[in-house]
């Protein structure tokens, strides 16, 4: 049986998956990316070795912002293409609007008939990304997912700054003013949702199935709030945070020669 490896080195987490010839998801790993993508790539290699997947024999595709740091990858492909492929696999659909809220960037990808038709990415600014959530959660001494969950019970407060640095000082002053934690959490999530929605509005789409991938896909309230803002249901699958890595592994299936029976 041949196996195909996809590695997605994101800014905060590194996701690795192995698919078999029938495209079954055989194994997944989640590692923190840490300071050095090169060290992370090395750590991934050890995990793969330990699980008896030989990178010499299995085709490897790397994606994510650290994709060039994987010396043993047979190919690098951008996270846009990989997320689209992975989301199609997970949603079992060829027509999708993929929203990926990643650690340092947020991508909106429009997939039509199995092909990427258009995409937008945030620029240098981290508004509307996982990083924004992380910074705000830190300043409230909470974990990002807990903040997300708590947001459901709040309301009535808004953050006006889009800039992460200014928004953080807004949060700090809200904390200082004695505002309820759930209300501040609501304001944080609301800010992300509004920013993401404005990016979605840059892409012209027919009504299509919208799905969330990336690190925040487990947060039910994020999906709900995004759905309310975009007037649609946001679908997400259990392994959606692995979408990029799954897409990479699927692309690895196109690599000829390596690991084939002789």
């Amino acid at each position: 049986m041949r196996h195909f490896i996809g590695i997605d080195i994101g800014s905060t987490c590194t996701k690795t998956v192995v698919l078999d010839e029938e495209k079954n998801l055989v194994k997944t790993w989640l590692l923190p990316t840490g300071w050095s993508s090169i060290d992370t790539a090395e750590a991934v290699k050890k995990e793969l070795d330990a699980a008896n997947f030989n990178i010499e024999k299995c085709p490897v595709v790397a994606t994510g912002y650290g994709r060039i740091a994987v010396p043993y990858a047979d190919k690098t492909i951008t996270e846009i293409t990989c997320h689209a492929k992975g989301a199609m696999y997970l949603q079992n659909s060829d027509n999708l609007l993929v929203i990926d809220i990643g650690g340092q960037d947020t991508k909106i990808i429009c997939v039509e008939n199995g092909l990427v038709k258009d995409f937008v990415m945030n620029d240098k600014c981290s508004a509307g990304t996982g990083r924004f959530l992380e910074v705000m959660a830190n300043s409230m001494a909470m974990r990002p997912n807990d903040l997300c969950a708590l947001a459901e019970f709040g309301g009535g407060v808004h953050i006006s700054s889009m800039c992460t640095v200014f928004a953080e000082s807004e949060v700090v002053s809200l904390v200082g003013r004695g505002e309820k934690k759930e209300n501040i959490a609501f304001a944080v999530v609301d800010s992300i949702v509004k920013k993401v929605a404005s990016q979605v509005s840059r892409i012209e789409t027919e009504k299509m199935c919208t799905c969330l991938t990336g690190g925040l896909c487990d947060c039910d309230y994020m999906k709900k709030a995004l759905g309310n803002e975009l007037h649609c249901e946001i679908s997400s699958q259990p392994n959606a945070r692995f979408a990029g890595a799954i897409g990479a592994a699927l692309m690895a299936m196109n690599i000829k020669g390596k690991g084939e029976e002789r």
């Binding site: 912002y65 951008t78 996270e79 846009i80 960037d105 990427v116 995409f119 620029d123």
Partner: protein
């Protein structure tokens, strides 16, 4: 070469700061240009000019000044070179394409000004650009609010003439531009001390038309299925065209075009088959701004055309020759220059037509519409450009960037993803 140091000293340049540029330029040029294989031999001329960028042409200009010629520094493709040349003057571009000069500009301009303006002002005020030191007069124009206000600051330092460019294209606007050209001609006559005659202007018009034809020939070669030249190399030729003597420029471009035409006949290409053909549209790329072209051409794309001031806007359309009077010549100049489609005009549907036409002519797979940060006219027009291209079924990627290295990785991801999207 050491004589350049003497020359720079005489120009009262800040040598220590200028040396920092001497440090980064060879590295960047090596990475971007010399990393390319199988370049046309004719590019040797432009490699040479870049190697001596602040030396060879400045020393020619100084020689010319010693012989009584006057040098006019210009910022924009709407300023008619012909008028200056007819009075035996010289036109030169001015520095403005590097992050190196931006902090100097930010000392006096708001940070939210476009990098081209910040760099130009910084290059002048910090005394790190020989062209800015040499020019006897600067010629500004009213193409955008940032420039208009920057002239007021630059004007405190140097003699300036500002041409009032209309921002619509009605008949009366073209008449007005002819009038502005006439007024400019009077200024040029005064500065040079030479009268502009019908014969001299006709000859100048011919010279610049020849230069346009030569540049167009090189662009024509980029329409070939097998590309004989990279986009980066064509961009370099275009950038230096703003600084060089127009006759030499035409000659060098024609030599290059000869070689490219031979390459096409022989099926020689600098890209492997299947490389995606990209049209870059938008704001100008002044030398040494090579960032986006380099990223595109190291991410599986080839730039086949620039719909820019440093591109088709510089050479498309010719000026009518052999007209009997100065009035008629000024009008012909106005008509040619008003055919340029800059985002400072409203409406500017001509630019959309240009982009769609160029997509066909150069058989492009996708368009990258680039905007220099804080250039609001091109930024806003980006919406219309993208909409028109999508309607025509041509994939488009909008990008906003400046001269810094900071966003290079992010740009690379976007450009790579765009090229993957093209299939």
């Amino acid at each position: 070469m050491s004589n350049y140091v003497e020359m720079w000293k005489n120009l009262n340049m800040d040598l220590e700061t200028h040396d920092a540029l001497c440090q980064v330029l060879p590295t960047a040029f090596g990475d971007v240009y010399l990393s390319q294989e199988n370049r046309p031999e004719g590019m040797g001329f432009w490699d040479f000019v870049v190697s001596e960028i602040h030396g060879i042409r400045p020393s020619e200009l100084i020689e010319a000044q010693k012989n009584g010629q006057k040098v006019f520094g210009t910022f924009c493709v709407y300023v008619p070179d012909e008028v200056v040349i007819a009075a035996n003057g010289i036109v030169t571009g001015l520095c403005g394409g590097s992050q190196f000069w931006v902090p100097g500009g930010e000392k006096v301009l708001p940070k939210g000004t476009c990098p081209l303006i910040k760099a130009s002002v910084g290059a002048r005020l910090d005394r790190t650009c020989p062209f800015f030191r040499i020019a006897d007069m600067y010629v500004g124009e009213t193409t955008c609010d940032g420039k208009k206000k920057a002239w007021e600051i630059l004007g405190q330092d140097v003699p300036m003439h500002i041409m009032d460019l209309p921002q619509m294209k009605r008949d009366k606007d073209i008449l007005k531009w002819a009038d502005e050209i006439k007024e400019f001609a009077a200024v040029v006559e005064k500065v040079t001390g030479n009268e502009i005659t019908v014969e001299a202007l006709n000859e100048a018009i011919h010279t610049i038309n020849e230069k346009r034809r030569a540049l167009a020939r090189v662009y024509e070669a980029r329409k070939a299925a097998k590309l004989p030249i990279s986009g980066k190399d064509a961009l370099l030729m275009m950038q230096i065209a703003f600084f060089d003597d127009p006759k030499r420029c035409a000659q060098m471009c024609n030599n290059l075009a000869d070689e490219l035409e031979k390459r096409i006949a022989d099926g020689v290409s600098v890209f492997k088959e299947g490389t995606k053909r990209i049209l870059v549209s938008g704001t100008p790329m002044a030398i040494p701004n090579w960032k986006l072209h380099h990223i595109i051409e190291t991410s599986g794309g080839a730039v086949v055309c620039e719909e820019m001031c440093t591109g088709t806007r510089y050479f498309e359309h010719e000026v009518a020759e052999d007209l009997p009077t100065l009035e008629a010549q000024y009008m012909a100049l106005a008509q040619r220059y008003m055919k340029n489609n800059c985002a400072c005009f409203t409406p500017n549907s001509g630019r959309i037509d240009d982009i769609l036409r160029l997509c066909k002519e150069y058989n492009v797979d996708g368009v990258i519409d680039v905007n220099l940060k804080f250039c609001s006219t091109y930024d806003i027009e980006g919406y219309t450009v993208e909409k028109a291209l999508k309607e025509a079924g041509i994939p488009v990627l909008g990008i906003e960037t400046d001269y810094t290295d900071a966003d290079a990785e992010q740009l690379r991801t976007r450009v790579e993803a765009f090229i993957e999207m093209l299939g």
